[in-house]
């Protein structure tokens, strides 16, 4: 629901799309409405399929199966990527707000944090840096070898 409201809101406020060589230069209000609904349908049907997958093969959670299915359906052109693009880009730009309620959950673990807080923070900090460094440096080296 929120996506619908947001979608409507975003293209009501935005100036009309710039002309693009590859796509139709004028996109009507009706088409925009259709594209937003189409994107919502695409995302939620992939999510539903993903949930089904995780029910039968509980290796990954449903949303990750959904991500993989969404990528594949776009790749095999079961969904039209041009119709989906603008709404999905908008979602990606604003998805951070969805993590806020989960993040506020930290206040429920004050006791544990008092006891081991500093050690946990320090270990997380150090190992996150280690991981960033290892993956970043290694990939850069391999990528240079690839090209």
């Amino acid at each position: 629901m929120m996506l619908v409201i947001y979608g409507l809101d975003s293209w009501l406020l935005k100036p009309p799309m710039k002309a693009n060589k590859d796509t139709v230069s004028v996109i009507t209000f009706k088409q925009k409405t259709f594209n937003v609904l189409y994107s919502i349908f695409a995302i939620f049907s992939c999510l539903a399929l993903g949930k089904l997958c995780s029910y039968f093969a509980p290796i990954l959670p449903g949303s990750l199966y959904g991500l993989i299915i969404f990528t594949l359906t776009l790749h095999f052109r079961l969904f039209n990527a041009d119709r989906i693009k603008s709404s999905v880009m908008w979602c990606l730009k604003h998805m951070g707000v969805c993590f806020v309620p989960a993040g506020v959950g930290i206040i429920n673990h004050f006791e544990l944090i008092k006891q081991f807080g500093i050690a946990i923070v320090a270990i997380t900090f150090v190992t996150t840096f280690l991981l960033l460094t290892v993956v970043g440096l290694h990939y850069q080296r391999y990528a240079v070898d690839d090209e």
Binding site: L64, I84, M89, G96, A119, I123, L132, H138, Y139, Y142
Partner: protein, 238 residues
């Protein structure tokens, strides 16, 4: 006044969601205007909401149940990350081997280092399991932590911490150690800081978003498959 409002479920839902979004957008505007990276909208809105909840004596449960709408959007948001992945699928399939190799190595280092350091410093198995899963996206990490008798509350906490560290200091740190290609940066941040990192670097460039979401998925799968073996083996050493 806020407490009265929270008694009505529909009103409180609207209030919680609207004020969370408003806070987030306000911080985002400030961040853009002042050009300050540390004004991370997610972090600032979380801190502000914690302060408000403590000040008005509102329980986390009532805030959480009021903001269910935002939480319900987490899953479709994860699915939407498939789009940047689709756009870079061609380049990614070309470098398939090197990406898997790097992420496999990364996941191995992450699990082993976190587990060993935690066992040496704190000496608690359930916390060690929790911390060794902190770089994985929340739903997967919680599932594995439960399976391996880890502490799920600490897992959730450490995941958020790792997400913020990577999202906030990741890009400047990577630039500092001369990892400049957007691909390498995206991959590193996706592997270390899962969805929070991915959501943050998605603003930098599209390539960042694609490689970050790729790393998020691949390293989640790798960790889900690897961690039971590594942790069971390491647990016998301590």
């Amino acid at each position: 006044m806020i407490t009265e409002l929270l008694n009505n479920h529909i009103l409180s839902s609207i209030f919680a969601v609207v004020s969370t979004i408003a806070l987030f957008q306000l911080t985002a505007v400030f961040q853009r205007k002042l050009n300050a990276i540390w004004l991370q909208p997610m972090l600032i809105s979380i801190l502000a909401i914690i302060a408000i909840l403590l000040w008005q004596d509102i329980s986390f449960e009532s805030y959480f149940s009021s903001s269910w709408l935002l939480n319900a959007l987490l899953e479709p948001a994860v699915v939407a990350l498939g789009f940047p992945l689709y756009q870079h699928l061609e380049t990614i399939t070309k470098q398939w081997k090197s990406i898997i190799l790097v992420l496999l190595f990364g996941a191995f280092i992450a699990i082993v280092s976190s587990f060993v350091i935690t066992m040496l410093l704190i000496g608690d198995y359930s916390i060690a399991v929790a911390l060794s899963l902190k770089s994985v996206t929340t739903p997967i990490a919680i599932a594995i932590a439960g399976q391996l008798d880890g502490n799920t509350a600490i897992t959730a906490f450490a995941i958020i911490l790792a997400g913020f560290f990577g999202a906030l200091v990741g890009p400047p740190w990577l630039r500092f150690i001369k990892v400049k290609s957007p691909k390498a940066q995206g991959l590193a941040i996706g592997a270390a800081s899962h969805a929070i990192g991915t959501a943050t670097v998605s603003n930098i460039s599209y390539e960042h978003a694609a490689y970050s979401s790729l790393a998020l998925i691949v390293s989640a799968v790798i960790t889900a498959l690897l961690s039971p073996f590594i942790i069971n083996f390491l647990a016998t050493l301590f």
